[in-house]
């Protein structure tokens, strides 16, 4: 066990503060706060009710709380998130659900999405190289949904991307429509519903 890997297993519950300098995988329950200098992965079945401060977050389970990520937040198809996200890169995959606000930091609103300059290179994200191939394209598209301009044009871009997606399954085709409005109204839904 030389390589530090922290796993909170399916039948484990942690109540309190958790911090560290290594990757953390949550398959069980964590309540409180999480501070990591590496990647937090919430697996399918994992439930996190915490404010988290990490470098990367990959959410396939349930996360309730605010997220601050230095690099990226990736909400996968199975991911369910309620809370505010602050991160230079936020990826909402088709099928994921999210309620809250997104803050990607400052960028020039005049610049076309593909040209937006960011401090963090796109390819750096998938350091593990596992699971999704993290299409460089996906983040670019999602960038067209800045929090402060909720009425941008994510809907067409999302649906046009979906068919080419390697992960397109029966599930995703069925759900192609619903997520789009969710994302589009991200900045507005906040406060409307009880949080």
């Amino acid at each position: 066990m030389t390589e530090p890997i922290t796993v909170i297993g399916t039948k484990t519950m942690i109540n309190g503060n958790l911090e560290g300098d290594e990757d953390l995988t949550v398959e069980g329950h964590v309540e409180g706060s999480i501070n990591l200098s590496k990647t937090l992965t919430v697996e399918v079945g994992g439930v996190v009710r915490a404010n988290i401060n990490v470098r990367n977050a990959i959410i396939s389970g349930v996360l309730v709380g605010n997220v601050e990520a230095q690099e990226a937040v990736h909400i996968t198809e199975q991911g369910r998130v309620v809370g505010d996200i602050t991160s230079p890169r936020v990826i909402l995959v088709d099928g994921s659900s999210f309620r809250g606000s997104i803050d990607m930091g400052d960028f020039n609103i005049e610049t076309t999405p593909g040209e937006i300059q960011r401090s963090t290179p796109v390819t750096k994200y998938q350091e593990d190289g596992e699971e999704k191939e993290a299409p460089a394209r996906a983040p670019t598209r999602v960038r067209t949904v800045p929090a402060r301009r909720p009425a941008a044009r994510p809907a067409p871009s999302r649906s046009s991307r979906a068919p080419s997606k390697s992960t397109a399954k029966k599930k995703s085709t069925k759900r192609k429509k619903p997520p789009a409005p969710k994302v589009r109204s991200v900045g507005k839904t906040r406060g409307k519903k009880k949080r």
């Binding site: 530090p4 796993v7 300098d21």
Partner: protein, 104 residues
């Protein structure tokens, strides 16, 4: 089969409860309540009261331990606190300070 592993650079302040094995290589403060086995590895530091079925201490534990089956402190393990368990093993080279209660 996934257990819970607290890696060496992780610090948890709070309560851990569960029904599966727990391996501690990092630091845990607070309380641990488990129905299975706890392994405190060499790099592990625990400052917590522990209730479990089985515990093996190769690292450091400060706090009271109540086990329904067995407590084992290996050579190199350090434990400070009271231990209550039907079976208690303290290996040669282990460091222990506290009361032992084997009435179970």
């Amino acid at each position: 089969m996934t257990n819970t592993v607290i890696g060496s650079s992780i610090v948890i302040d709070g309560e851990i409860s569960g029904e599966e094995d727990l391996v501690i290589q990092g630091t845990v403060k607070g309380r641990i309540v488990l129905k299975e086995n706890v392994f405190v590895e060499q790099s592990g530091v625990v400052e917590a009261d522990i209730e479990t079925n089985n515990i093996e201490v190769s690292g450091q534990v400060t706090g009271n331990i109540v086990a329904t089956d067995k407590v084992e402190i290996t050579a190199g393990g350090r434990a400070i606190g009271d231990i209550k368990a039907p079976r208690i093993l303290i290996a040669d080279g282990a460091i222990f300070k506290g009361n032992v209660d084997m009435d179970a």
